[in-house]
Structures are given as C-alpha cells and as structure tokens.
C-alpha cells in the first residue's frame, strides 16, 4: 500500500494483526507451519488433514446414504438415456402430450449423460455411489478451499464441518451437484491465483466448457471471477474491508480468463441457446418461481435454515467483538450468498462455499495449525480404513433403495399400469411426472413433470395449479384436456374429490399413490343416493 492508502487504515496497530485477509497474518501463519522437507505420498495419504477429509466424506455418507432423490432426477436420467441411445440432442419435447412437439432443449445434457451411463453400468446402486462420490467431492473441495484460504487445515476442517449440515441437507442427485462442485473449483483456482500461482487459472475455460453443458449455474462462476477481478482494482482499506490490488499482469490475466470463459459458452450442441437459458428461466417463468418449492424463499422455521441464521448471526457477532478485517471479494460474496439463499432456498448451496473462506479465515485466528511432528500416521490409517470399511458395509442394498423409492414415487402404481393399460390421456401429479417419464416414457406421455421451462410458456402449468388447487371449474379444466385417468398422490385434495364423485372410479391405491379412471356421468345419481344412505346408517 502507498502512503495515501495506509492513511485510510484507521485501526490501532494491535488490531491490524486481526486481519484475516491481511498479508501480515498470512506470513505469520506461514511461519506457524514451517516449510517441511518433501513428505512421502503415503504419509500425506495417512496424515491428520487427510483423516479429517475422511471424516467429512463419512459425514456425507451418513447424512445421505438413503438415495433420497428429487422428483426431477428421473427425467434427467431418461433424457441422458435418450441421448446415449439416439446419439442426438432433443430439440422438441418427446415426453408429454400437453407440450408435445414444443421447442425444448436438454440444458443439462452432459450431466444427464453421466447419470445415464452410471445407471447403465451399475443401476441404482451405481447411482447411489455416484451421488455419494459427488457429495464427498463437494465437501472435500470445500475443505481444500477453506484450508487454502486460511492456511490452516484444522480451521478449514472446522469450517467445512460446520457447513456440512447445511450442505448435505440440500444434496440431491441432480446436475446442480456438479455445478456446485465446479463453483468450488473456480474459487480454489482464484484463491491459488491470489496467492501467487499464476497458472492456477488455466483450467477455468475448460471447466466452463464443461459447466455450460452441465448446469446453468455457470453464471454464478462468471460472477465470482468478476467480483475477484473488481476487488483488486485498487489497494485500500475501509474499516474492516481490505482490497488487495492486483498487479497489472495479474489483472490482465484474470480479464483474459474471464473473456475465455465467456468465449466457450457457445460451445454446446445448441450453440448460444444454452448460455441464454438461465436468463430466460428467471425472466419468463414467474409461476415456477412462485410455486415450485425449491425456488421459494428459505423456510426459516425449519432446522436447516435456523442453523443458517445462527451461523450468519454468529459471524456478525464475531465481527463486532473482534473487528476482523475481511477481503472485499469475500465479504461481497458472503453477502451475496446470504441474499441468494434467503430469496431462494435452493441457493443455500451457493452460500456454503461463499461462507467457507470467510469462516475458515476467521477460525484460523484461534485454531492452532497442523503440526506434522505430532501426527499419528498409524492411527490415521486405522481410522481411514475403518471409515472406508463402514461405508462399504453400510452401503444400501438394491432392495433398500427400491423400498425408499416406493415411499415417494409410484413404483408399484407403474407396475400396475404396465399390467393393466388404462385409457389415456392420463393426468399426473407434478412430483410423479419425472418418474413416469423414466419408467414409461416416451411411449406413455405425461401431463406434466419438472421441466418448468417447457410447461409454463405452454400454459400447462397454470392449468395444473388450477386443477390441483381445486379452484372453481377445476374439473372442467381437467375435462378440457380430455383426461380419462389420473395418477395422484394418495392424500392430495384432488384425490379426495375424485373419490367422492360417481363419474370417477378408483382402480388402484397404495400408500403412495392412487389411480382413478373416468367412468362418465352414468353412475352419478346412483352414487349420490348411496352416500346419503351410508351417512344415515352411520347416524343410526
């Protein structure tokens, strides 16, 4: 910093040592972990930091071993399967009858192909393994990022462990898992670049090439690079915010990286349309943003969001008490992560990496660093082996996975439909649509599934809400589609209404789902008389 910039620092000298982003503390911490002689690979694998990483992986396994998949998982799987089979990318919808032939693109095709490939190789167990691998990769990457930032593996572990609960609650086998992994890799690259490793950025354009074909979250990655670039515009300190100026060569390199990442965005089977997809989604799909749970705001009455609040407020309290100094980019990304997570619950996974750096750097002020001299390699090895053995032993069986699927998806109802073909078209609950696409598509078309970008412009989504919320005229809307059968969640209001109507016959029911067939008007009068008779009998 020059004299003018130094004059902006208004802290007494002893407080400057609390700079968690400051150069002085980084050098001080580096002194606590003295440079060591090259260590064998085996020692690194069984080191204490590696064992801590193993604990994080075990935490992911314990939290998410039940193959708790999202309703959208199934149509992702089907789309990937379709691409592998046909060697073509879809350009119109093949899975529904309400939006049949409408323009639609597989915006996450690369991850869908990955899922389908793993399914072909290993079935549900293979997918469960993939899910756990992705979850573990995210947490390990987070740990590495936090350690890199704080130069303290213990602080990095504590930060990652604290965020593990928030992160795993939002893990789901969907392309977004890869998106979040890529985001953390981007942050790692930027941090290494910040620490002087000039070549750290080289792989980012390649990463973005994969990212744009995997999940639309790439724009968060671009935004992150931009924030880093802008935060190094000049060196100064304002209160507890510190800006470290980039060297001219660094600024140019970062700018070129950004531009190259933008340049690769059109390299997709769909050209530039994939790059435009995220912006179209946010601007043209208000019903999706209003009604679909993952797009709704954070539910602060749930345990996970309460933990989020406690974490944010704790950081606020620590900032008051200890007057920490933060880097501008970290503070900005932290606030952005808080805002995004509050507005849309699904962005809690964006908050996690944005918080990790700040959290780890804060903890590093008090957590002692790793001392290789005290390490117990044998003990670490034993613990790692025990964790690995435990994960293998408790890995769910195919039967357990299928049982779990049956509690949330109409697995048995689909079996019934295969044996008892029913008149169509069939109305289905939104949450069942993806499973129906996977299990019976594309021959059997669905009314709706999780591809909101398809159904909202086609007007299907508003009609679906009208029907399921039983607004006046709901059954007329149902009839306007010529619906002859319905596959519904067992306890949803529409199922209760159809049960009471004489013109709909319940033909199948289990704990999860129920199927109705339209029988027409002929039974209406008789059924009404029958209900009144039954009621009178109960009263006597």
């Amino acid at each position: 910093m020059n004299e003018r910039e130094r004059a902006m620092v208004d802290l007494p000298e002893e407080e400057q040592t609390r700079s968690v982003g400051g150069e002085s503390n980084q050098k001080k911490r580096a002194a606590e972990e003295p440079a060591s002689a090259p260590v064998s690979i085996v020692r690194n694998i069984f080191s204490f930091p590696a064992m801590l990483g193993g604990l994080l992986v075990t935490g992911v396994f314990v939290a998410r071993r039940n193959f708790d998949v999202d309703p959208d998982f199934w149509w992702h799987l089907k789309v990937g399967d379709g691409i592998l089979a046909a060697h073509k990318w879809p350009v119109t919808d093949p899975y529904s009858y309400t939006a049949a032939g409408n323009s639609w693109l597989a915006a996450e095709w690369l991850s869908e192909v990955l899922f389908a490939s793993v399914n072909r190789l290993g079935g549900f167990r293979g997918l469960e393994a993939l899910f756990l691998v992705l979850g573990a990769a995210i947490m390990v990457a987070l740990y590495i990022f936090a350690t890199l930032r704080s130069k303290n593996s213990k602080a990095g572990f504590v930060a990652a462990a604290m965020l593990l609960v928030l992160a795993t609650a939002n893990f789901n086998l969907r392309p977004q898992m890869l998106g979040y992994l890529f985001l953390i890799l981007t942050l790692i690259a930027l941090e290494r670049f910040r620490q002087g490793h000039r070549r750290a950025l080289w792989f980012l354009p390649l990463l973005f090439l994969a990212w744009v074909n995997t999940h639309p979250s790439w724009e968060i990655g671009l935004g992150t690079i931009f924030v880093y670039w802008m935060s190094g515009w000049k060196g100064m300190r304002v209160g507890g915010i510190e800006m470290h100026r980039w060297e001219p060569a660094e600024r140019v390199r970062l700018a070129w990286t950004f531009l190259l990442c933008v340049a690769v965005l059109p390299i997709t089977p769909y050209g530039t349309r994939l790059a435009a997809f995220p912006f179209q989604f946010v601007s043209a799909l208000p019903n999706n943003l209003t009604y679909i749970i993952e797009w709704q705001q954070m539910p602060f009455d749930q345990p996970g969001p309460k933990l989020f609040l406690i974490l944010v407020f704790a950081i606020f309290a620590v900032q008051i008490a200890f007057r920490l100094v933060w880097r501008l980019e970290e503070a900005a990304l932290f606030l952005l992560g808080v805002l995004m997570a509050c507005l849309h619950a699904r962005f809690l996974l964006v908050f996690v990496p944005f918080c990790a750096a700040l959290l780890a750097a804060t903890l590093a002020v008090w957590v002692p660093g790793y001392d290789r001299k005290k390490d117990q390699y044998l003990l670490n090895a034993a613990l790692l082996c025990a964790m690995l053995f435990g994960m293998i032993w408790f890995f769910p069986s195919r039967a357990a996975i299928e049982q779990n699927i049956a509690t949330r998806f109409p697995l048995h109802a689909v079996e019934y439909l295969r044996e008892h073909p029913l008149p169509g078209p069939m109305f289905n609950t939104y949450n069942f649509g993806g499973y129906l696409v996977w299990a019976r598509g594309p021959e059997h078309k669905v009314f709706i599934d999780g591809r909101g970008e398809l159904y909202e412009p086609a007007g299907v989504f508003p009609d679906y809400m009208h029907i399921t919320l039983l607004k006046p005229g709901a059954l007329d809307v149902l009839r306007s589609y010529g619906i002859r059968s319905c596959l519904l969640e067992r306890d949803q209001p529409l199922a209760t209404v159809l049960s009471a109507r004489a013109d709909w016959q319940k033909v199948y029911s289990d704990r999860t789902s129920v199927i109705f067939v339209y029988e027409g008007e002929r039974k209406l009068t008789a059924k009404t008389r029958g209900w009144n008779v039954a009621t009178e009998k109960e009263q006597r």
Binding site: D10, L11, E15, V238, G239, G240, I241, T290, Q296, Q297, M298, P299, F300, D301, P305, K306, L309, I310, F313, F316, A317, Q319, I320, A321, F322, R323, W326, A331, L335, V338, L339, C342, L343, L469, L470, K471, P472, A474, L475, R490, D491, P493, A495, T496, V497, L498, S499, A500, R501, T528, W531, N532, T535, E536, E538, Q539
Partner: protein, 515 residues
C-alpha cells in the same frame, strides 16, 4: 451501541432527561409545537399512518371486540368457551381482556370508524415513541426521526386491531424508561410496575418487557471492552434499583382477574401449542415474498455492511437484543415489531454520526407551521371513509353470507373457515356457535384444530371428520378445495357470492336451527 451524544445543546437536554423545566410562556410552548422536531414528528406520523393503511382488520379483531363487549355488558370475565360448538364449555380465559375492553369501547363509540380511530391513535403513539427513543439514545432529534422513518415500514405487521398493538406501546415505554435510567434518571423506573399491571392484563408481550429488564440488569454486571463490544457496567446502587424494579414487575403479574394464570399463558403457548405455532399464519416465518420481509432483509444486510465498514461499537445489551430480535423476526413474522423497536436506537446512533443536531436559532417556525397544517390536512383527507371500510371488510369477510344466515337459519353445527370464525362470532355470536375461530389455544387443547386441518385441506378423511363432528352445513371459501369436495359429494350449495358459499348436507337439512 455506546451512547454517543453528538450535539451539545441537544445532548445536554437528553442527558438531563428529568423534565425539570421551569414554567414557560405560551410562546415557549408554541415554539415547541411548531419547531422543526415537531414537524418531523408529524411527517413521521404520516409515514406510519400510510404504512398502516392495509393492516386495519385482522381475522382476530372481531372476536376480540366481541369478548370486550361481552365483558362490558355482563361485568364478568369468561372462564369457559361460549362461542363454539366444538369446544363448548372448555376452560378458556380472556387473557387479553383489558385490550379487548378498549377495543369494545372504541367499537361502541363509532363502530368500524371508531376502531379505525383507535388504530390510528395507537400508530401515532408508536411512531412518536420510536422517534423519542431514537432521540433519547442518540441525542439528536433528526437522527431519531430518520431512524424511526427508516424502520417504520417494517412495523405494519403489528398495526392490526388487536391488543398486541397496545403491548408494543408498553414495550416501547419500558425501553425508554430503561434508557432514561441508564442516563441517570432513576425515577423513570417507577413507571414500570404499574405499567406491568396493565400489561399483563392486556397482552402476553409483557414477557419481552421482563426479558429486557432482566437483560439490562445482567449486562450491568459486566464491565469490559472487546473490540466493538462494550459492557458499561452498573454500580451496585443502580443494580439494586433495577433488581427491585424487576421484582416488583414480577409481583405485578398475578394482579389479574384470573390470578397468576394470565402470567403463565405465554409460556404455555410456547410449549404446549405446537400445532398453533406450526400452522397459524401469524406464527409463520418471515416471508420474503412480501415487501416487509424484503425490507427487513435489506436492513439486516445494510447493518452488516455498516458494521464491517464503519467499525461500530455496540453495548452488550444492544448486541444481544439485536441478534435475538433478528432471529425471532425471521422465525416468526409477528416478531418483526421487536426488530423495529430495538433497531431504531441503533440506527439513530449511526445516523447521528453524520446528521447535524437541531439548531433552534435557524428554525423557521412559520414554514414549519404551514407544513404541519398541510400534512395534518392531507393525512385527514387520506383516511378511509366509512364506505371504504365497509368495502375493506366485504373483500375478505363473508358479509353477505352472514346477512343471508340471519334471514335463513340453517341446521346447527356449521363448519366455517378459520379466518372467518371471529367475524361470525362478532356478527352472530354467542347464539350462533362457530366450528373454529382465531382462539387457536382452545381448539388445539380440545383436538379441534387437527380436525379442522383435515377438513380444510380436503384430505382423505375430510368427509368422515365432518360427520364425526356432526357438521350439517359449511360456510367456506368458494375458491377453495373444500367447496369442490362438498359439491362433488352432493352437498347442496344454498348460497354463493364471489367470496363465500354455504353448503348444506341434504340429509340434515330438516333439523331445527339453534343449539
């Protein structure tokens, strides 16, 4: 935050606090009334009243008014439920009876218009107290006004016609008294014990008052400075004074017609009414889908940025309160008003850094007077007419359906929407018994609330539950799932308008009305 009085003349006045003013000439009072701070107070009132526009009527307003009317008429406080057929005779107390009596008096004086005036008066008092609190803390009237104006848009969540509005007035008075005490005016604490006698009979927010007094006392045990966190400590004499005050406030709690039961109610609600807290709208978490939630989020983030960049200092008690109310407001929207109360002095102190204090020598009294007159006239003009009030009620409540029911009595045992129960009680009770209303505590203990949720949600057992509860007719929202279920099941729709529908079970139509 640490108390930092930025001005000189203003700060002296604030520090003195004890209003030992000499007898002044009429011109002295006139100057006060048309001073710049007074103008700011009027403008602030305008902000508050405009914010409160949309929050006049709450579903619970009606039964509160009815209970108050019943108390005034019979001079007896209820001990069992007399308004429902599902929980008839169940033990129940009018735990906000004093507030309900005030509401009933306002309704007697002018009906809906009287209630509107009552609400406006409370809103003005709240705005004025917030302004004063900001001024007392910062010593700067302008900063106090700015702070109150900034946070007031969050307050409307508490401006509905219910006793809780009065509870928040008492909380503001409590905090102001504690601030005066902290500034050296010990006699300010004398107000608190009698205030708590009123408070415990008005609304359950008295627990927050006790919490704040206790927190001030505990914070007074410590004296330290860690970074931006300051504990100022209190000498032993003042700690004893505060402790005695706390004890006297505790002793005031059983001074109710129900003895100590009223004092225990808030704790009972927090621990023994999980369905109420999980499902009833006012207990829902902060919603970022509405402007209040977004505004509060922006506020919280602004505070965070201010903390990081300006290196603010906080008193220990302020930091604890701020974190507590932010968490509480996120967890339950109804506590957003606590956020307003405890944020105002903090924001006032922040703004006092940049806001020059009031300077009497440059005040423009004539201009102030003109602006005050204009503002008051505009506020009066903007108030809703009786027709506006009637339209407001008709929009959300089954006014026409109730008129129909008066002329066409139907079989007893009528199911009703939760949000309409209070209105039905006010219009037709206690002769007409409701299925449910906003007194969720009564219905949770008697098992009615879970049944209501099954029916209103048109779940699989909805019809069986209606039969089990001996319901013969339903007054429901025409656009709801239950209306579709009833129609599908052969219930006859004997009345409908844009909002409500009345369905009757044909098998029970022949029964005599009245219960």
């Amino acid at each position: 935050m640490s108390s930092k009085f930025s001005g000189t003349a203003e700060s002296s006045a604030a520090v003195a606090a004890a209003p030992s003013m000499s007898v002044a000439s009429p011109w002295f009072f006139m100057r006060k009334v048309i001073s710049f701070p007074a103008l700011m107070a009027v403008l602030l009132t305008g902000v508050a009243l405009l914010s409160a526009e949309s929050r006049l009527i709450d579903p619970d307003t009606w039964w509160h008014v009815k209970v108050g009317e019943q108390i005034l008429a019979s001079h007896v406080l209820p001990t069992t439920d007399m308004y429902s057929f599902t929980a008839a005779g169940t033990a129940w107390m009018a735990y906000e009876w004093l507030g309900e009596v005030l509401l009933a008096l306002a309704a007697r004086a002018g009906g809906l218009w009287g209630l509107l005036i009552f609400q406006r008066v409370i809103v003005v008092i709240v705005a004025g107290l917030l302004y004063y609190l900001g001024y007392v803390r910062s010593g700067n009237a302008k900063a106090g006004c700015i702070a109150a104006a900034i946070v007031l848009p969050i307050a409307p969540v508490a401006f509905t016609l219910r006793p809780q509005m009065i509870g928040y007035v008492y909380l503001l008075v409590t905090v102001i008294c504690l601030e005066h005490f902290r500034n050296g005016w010990s006699k300010a604490l004398w107000i608190l014990p009698p205030l708590f006698v009123l408070w415990v009979n008005t609304h359950g927010t008295f627990v927050f008052g006790l919490f704040v007094i206790g927190l001030y006392w505990v914070a007074g045990l410590f004296k330290f400075k860690i970074g931006g966190l300051v504990a100022e400590g209190m000498d032993q004499r003042r700690r004893v004074q505060l402790l005695l005050t706390f004890a006297m406030c505790l002793l005031a709690l059983p001074v109710t017609p129900y003895g100590s039961k009223l004092a225990a109610y808030p704790i009972e609600m927090a621990t023994a009414q999980p369905l109420n807290i999980a499902n009833i709208q006012e207990w829902q978490p902060l919603s970022l889908g509405n402007p209040v939630g977004v505004y509060l989020l922006i506020f919280a983030m602004g505070l965070f940025v201010a903390q990081v960049t300006l290196r603010l200092s906080y008193r220990l008690v302020d930091m604890i309160l701020l974190l507590f109310v932010m968490y509480a407001a996120c967890a339950h929207l109804r506590f957003a008003m606590l956020f307003v109360i405890f944020l105002t002095p903090v924001v006032a102190e922040i703004f006092a850094r940049w806001t020059p204090p009031y300077d009497r020598s440059i005040d423009r009294y004539v201009l102030n007077f003109a602006l005050i007159v204009f503002a008051v006239a505009a506020l009066v003009k903007l108030q809703p007419t009786r027709q506006d009030l009637d339209a407001l009620v008709s929009k959300d409540y089954p006014v026409s359906a109730v008129a129909y029911l008066r002329n066409h009595p139907y079989p007893t045992g009528m199911f009703n929407e939760y949000g309409w129960g209070g209105y039905l009680i006010w219009q037709l009770g206690p002769e007409h018994k409701v299925f449910i209303d906003g007194r969720a505590d009564v219905y949770e203990y008697s098992g009615v609330l879970p049944d209501y949720m099954v029916i209103a949600g048109a779940q699989a057992d909805a019809l069986r539950t209606l039969a089990r509860r001996d319901v013969s007719s339903c007054l429901v929202n025409r656009a709801g799932a239950l209306a579709a279920l009833l129609a599908a099941n052969g219930w006859q729709e004997v009345y409908s308008d844009e909002l409500a529908g009345i369905f009757v079970n044909p098998a029970k139509r022949a029964e005599r009305p009245g219960r």
